[in-house]
Symmetry: C2
Subunit: 498 residues, 2 copies
Amino acid sequence: MTHSRTPAYDELARAWSRMHHLGHLQSIAGWDRATHMPPRGNEARAAAMAEMAALLHRMRTDPALRERLQRAEDEPLDAVARANLREMQREWRLANVLPESLVQRQQLAASRCEHAWRSQRPANDWPGFVANFRAVLALAREEAARLADAGGLAKYDALMDRFEPGMTCARLDLVFGDLRRWLPDLVQRVRARQAAEPVLAPQGPFALARQRQLCEQVMRRLGFDFDAGRLDVSTHPFCGGVPEDVRMTTRFREDDFLGALTGTIHETGHGRYEQNLPRAWLGQPVALARSMALHESQSLAFEMQLGCHPGFVAQLAPLLDEAFGAQPAFAPHNLHRLLTRVAPGPIRVDADEVTYPAHIILRYEIERPLVEGEIEPEDVPALWDAKMQELLGIDTRGNFKDGPLQDVHWPESLFGYFPCYTLGAMYAAQWFAAMRQAMPDLDERIARGDLAAVFDWLQANIWSQGSRWSTDELAVRASGEGLNPAHLEAHLKARYLG
Amino acid sequence: MTHSRTPAYDELARAWSRMHHLGHLQSIAGWDRATHMPPRGNEARAAAMAEMAALLHRMRTDPALRERLQRAEDEPLDAVARANLREMQREWRLANVLPESLVQRQQLAASRCEHAWRSQRPANDWPGFVANFRAVLALAREEAARLADAGGLAKYDALMDRFEPGMTCARLDLVFGDLRRWLPDLVQRVRARQAAEPVLAPQGPFALARQRQLCEQVMRRLGFDFDAGRLDVSTHPFCGGVPEDVRMTTRFREDDFLGALTGTIHETGHGRYEQNLPRAWLGQPVALARSMALHESQSLAFEMQLGCHPGFVAQLAPLLDEAFGAQPAFAPHNLHRLLTRVAPGPIRVDADEVTYPAHIILRYEIERPLVEGEIEPEDVPALWDAKMQELLGIDTRGNFKDGPLQDVHWPESLFGYFPCYTLGAMYAAQWFAAMRQAMPDLDERIARGDLAAVFDWLQANIWSQGSRWSTDELAVRASGEGLNPAHLEAHLKARYLG
C-alpha cells in the first residue's frame, strides 16, 4: 500500500461518505413518512429523524474537520478533489455559522407559525398570521445578518446563497428588471390571441389505476430508470430518496389527469438529474446537484420545454386515447392548447408558464426588503395588491388567503428560495437554445420521438457535472454564456406569439 | 429542577433512547429494502445500513457505558429501572464479548456460504455446500466458545441464550425428550384417523386484490391497529418496523389463498405483541419483547391456537364466501379440516402443527453436537436421514435440497435459534390452557366471535410486560408455572384425536 499524499483530504472524504450513508437512511425515512407511514407512527418518526438530524449536524460541525479542511488546501489535489474541497468548505461554513440556539429558536417559531397558518389561511386571517410571523421574521433577519457577516455578502444575498450559490440581488435585479419590462405586455398579447382559440375540456372521470399506468409509461419514455427509483403517491408531490434510488411522488384526482401527468413530467426532470449525477464521486459533495435553480431548470426543461413542445404533445395524444378511450379533447392541437393556456390568476402553484415569473418577481420584491428591515409585515398586503395589479392586472384586495397567505415558504422561514423557480425557467430555456444551436433539427427529432438528443445533451452538460463547477462556469461550458434571460423571452414569444 | 438521585442510570437511559431512535431508521430502511426498494438501490442501501450497524455497535460498546452500568447498580432504582438495567447489562455484555475481527470474518464467511447456497440448494450440491460451510462452522465454534466463556455457560447454551435468555440444553433435553416419546405415535394415529376424512380443495384462481382485502379484514378482526402499522408484500413474510409503526408483510399466490391468510394471521400475532409493548418504557430495553420463543408464542397463539380453532374457523368461512364467491370447500368443517391436515413431509416451513416439532428436534439434535465439535459436517446427512425416518417415517436419502440444505439458518450461521419455534408452540398452548382455567367459557366466547377475552389476557400477561421479568418469571406470573410441555401434548391430542 502506498502512502497517501493527501491524508487530510482522504479523511474528509471518508467523513462525507459516512454522512452520505446516514443521510440515505434519513431520506428514505422522509419518503416513507410522506407516502406510507400510518398516522400514529408520526411521533416516533419525528423523534428518530430529529435524532439523525442532530447527529448529522454534529458530524458536519465536528471541530476536527476545521483543521483538516485547512490542511487539505495545501495537499496536491486533482481538479475534481479541489472542487470537492470547495464544496466541503461551503457546507462546513454554512453548518457552523449559525449558533445552535438560533437554529432551535427558528425551528420553534417556524413550527408554531406554520401550524397556525394551516388554519389561518382558510380563515383569511392575516392579522392572526402576522402575530406569529413577526417572530419568524425577526429570527430570519438575525440569520441573514450572521450569514452575511460570515460570507461577506449582503443580507438577502446570503439567504439566497444557501440555495443558489453565487446569485446576488445585483444580478437578479438586472434579469428580473428585464423580465418586468416585457412580461405584462406579453401576457396581454397572449391572452388576446388565445381568446379566439376554442379549447375542449377532457371529460372525466379518469380511473386512478389508468392514470398511474399512463404516468409510468411517460416516465419510461422520458428515460426514468425504474430499476433505480419508484413512483408513489403523496399529498404534496416531490422528488426524494437518494441518487441511487430516486423516490418520485405524484397525486391523482379522478376528475383531472393533466395535473398528475404534468406534475409527473416535472418531477421526472428532477429524478433524471438525480439518477444521472456522477457515480464515480457519489457520496461526496461534488457529486451533488449544482443548485436549486439548476435542479428547477431540469424539471422545467422536462415539463415546459419538452412536455409542452407540440412534437412531444402529439406523441402523448395516442397514449391518452389508449389510457382513457379516445376523446376529441385528446387531439394533439387541442391537447397543446390545454397545456399552454395562459390565464392570470392569484395562485402561484396554479400559474401557467407565462404568468409564473410575475408571481416570483412579486415575492422577491417583497421578501427582500422584508428581511433587510426596510418594510414590516404590515406593509405586505398593500404591496402585494399593487404588484398583482401592475404585473397581472388582478385585484387581490382583502383576499389574503389567495394572496400573501398562499405559500408555505414564509411561515416556514424559507426566504431567498423563490427566485430559484424563475431562474430555473430561464436556464431551461437557455439549455434548449443551446441544444438547437448544436442540433438545428432538434424540433424534428422531438417530433419523431427521438428524445435521446435532449437527454444526451443534458447528461453531458448538466447531470454528469454534479457540482464540479460553479453555476456560472457550468452555464458557460454548457451554453457558451452565463445566465441570459433573453432565452426565456425568446422561448415564450416563439411558443405563444409565433 | 431536582437533582437526580440516579445520574448514571439516567445517562444510560438517554443513550439507549438515542439508539432506539437511530434503530428506528434502520428498521424502516430494512422494511423498505424487502418491500419497495428497486433492485439497483441495493448497493447504496447495503452501505447505508452497514454504516448504521457500525455506528450502533460503537454506541453499544462505548467504553463510557461500562462504568455507568457499574455505578447505576448502586443507585436507588425502582423495580422497572432495575429490570431495565439488567437488560442493558445483557446487551452490553453480548455486544462486547465478540472481537470485531471475529464478527467481520463471520459476516464474510456467512455471506459467501449463503450466496453460494442459493444455487447449491436447487442443484442438490451437498459437497459444494460443505466446502463453504466448514468456515462458517469453525467461526461459530469460536463464537460459541467466547460467548460461553463470558457468560459462564455451555457452548450451545451460550448460542441459544442470545435468542432465548436462560434456556439451556439440560432443560431442552427434558422437554424435547418428552416430546420425542409421544410425537411419532401421535402423528401415526392422527394420520390413520384423517385418512378416512375427505377434504375438498378450494378452487382458484383467487384474485390478489381480494386476498389482500381478506387478509386486512382478518387482521382488523384480530385487533391489528392500521393507524400504527401496515401490511405489504415481500418474498419472505416478516413482521418488521418499530413498535410504534409495525410493518407486516405477506405474499400472495393466485392459485392458493390459504398460505397468505395463515401467514398473515401468524405475523399478526407478532404484530400485536409489538404494537402493545409497554409505551411508558418505550426506547428502553425493558420495553422490548421478552425473547424469540415468547415472540413465536404470540404468532402461534394467533395462527394455531386461535386461527385453527373451530369456533374461529367458522367465522372465517363467510369472509371467504364474500371474498371469492361461495364454494363447498369453504364450509366451516371442511375449512377446519384443510387447516388441520397432518401430512409428514421433508420441508419444515411447509409442516403442519403436529409434525413441525419433529423438524425442530432433528435440527437441535444435529446442530448442538455440530457446534460443540462432536460431529463434523460430513456426518450430517446420515444423521438427518436416520432422524427423519425415526421421527416422521420419511426417506430423505440423497435428497439434500429438501434435507439439510433446506434452511437459510446454517449458511447464515444462525445456530441456537431453531428450538425457539417449538418452545413458542409450547408456550402458546400453555397460555391458552391458562386462559381456559381463568375463563371456562373461552371456547364458546371464541365461537361467538368474542376475541376480546383472548386479547385482554395476552395484553395483561404478555404484551404489557415487555422484558420486565425473566421468561420463567413471566410464565409463572401468567400461567402459574414455568414452561410445561404437557400443554402442547394436551392441545394436540384434544384437537387431533379428541
